[in-house]
């Protein structure tokens, strides 16, 4: 897995690429939480994720809950088919705010 953080529309957009599994999910978790710790709203871009396991999903859940506690916006964008199938299995596809693109999320924010 590789990752990058960019800023778009006031969001820290965390882009994850490749397989997000136990060998690298601690990095994904730390990156997401680091953005939230500095009080930045976060969108996690999963468009290039080829696989995500439950440890990767746990990082997303922790980000979602941390953002909620801090009153920050959080969501997922561009969720790949591979990632969506795992989120559905965990019945989290209706929990996370999911949009196709960052622009769609910004538009939804109004």
């Amino acid at each position: 897995m590789s990752y990058a953080v960019r800023t778009d529309g006031g969001y820290a957009v965390v882009e994850l690429t490749g397989d997000v599994d136990l060998s690298c999910s601690p990095d994904a978790r730390a990156t997401i939480l680091s953005c939230l710790t500095s009080n930045r709203p976060v969108l996690v871009d999963l468009s290039r994720v080829t696989y995500i396991d439950s440890s990767g999903v746990a990082s997303l859940v922790e980000g979602y809950q941390t953002a909620k506690k801090k009153g920050l916006k959080f969501g997922l964008v561009g969720v790949s088919e591979a990632a969506l199938s795992v989120l559905k299995l965990a019945r989290l596809d209706k929990v996370f705010p999911i949009h196709a693109t960052v622009a769609d999320r910004i538009q939804a924010d109004g």
Partner: protein, 137 residues
């Protein structure tokens, strides 16, 4: 698969090995005629089962060994996972309530959702096993 019906893969309990495990499960499942959807599900389930061994049986000790056997029983795939860690508390292995939103604890839910049958057990005081079965069309 080694003889067309059985594949054995031994690997250290290291998270870095999970990619290879997924590749083994994927190629073996495809070779047995599973459709892409079933292959993807089997990859998820076995990855989670291996993760559970790494995290909860070996508790992060990467020197431990895991053995994955895949058997083609004709119309059914059987996956046997063995470790040599201290016996785990079998009563604690259960899917969690998904309405209880919290990080972690999803692996067992994934395994039970995907597999048709799962049996956990001890190998005396020498380790643990998990036997999973999936019907294939």
């Amino acid at each position: 698969m080694n003889d067309g019906r059985r594949l054995e893969f031994r690997f250290p309990a290291d998270p870095a090995m999970l990619r290879q495990v997924r590749e083994q499960v994927r190629s073996a499942s495809l070779a047995c005629g599973c459709c892409e959807k079933t292959v993807a599900e089997l990859v998820i389930a076995i990855n989670e089962a291996c993760m559970n061994v790494i995290q909860h049986a070996y508790k992060g000790d990467c020197s431990g060994e895991i053995i994955l056997e895949i058997l083609n029983n004709g119309g059914e795939l059987e996956f046997q996972l063995r470790d040599f860690a201290a016996p785990v508390d079998l009563a604690r292995i259960k899917p969690r309530d998904l309405d209880d939103l919290r990080p972690g604890g999803l692996g067992t839910h994934f395994i039970h959702e995907i597999m048709d049958d799962c049996v956990y057990g001890h190998l005396g005081d020498r380790g643990n096993y998990l036997r999973m079965k999936k019907k294939i069309s």
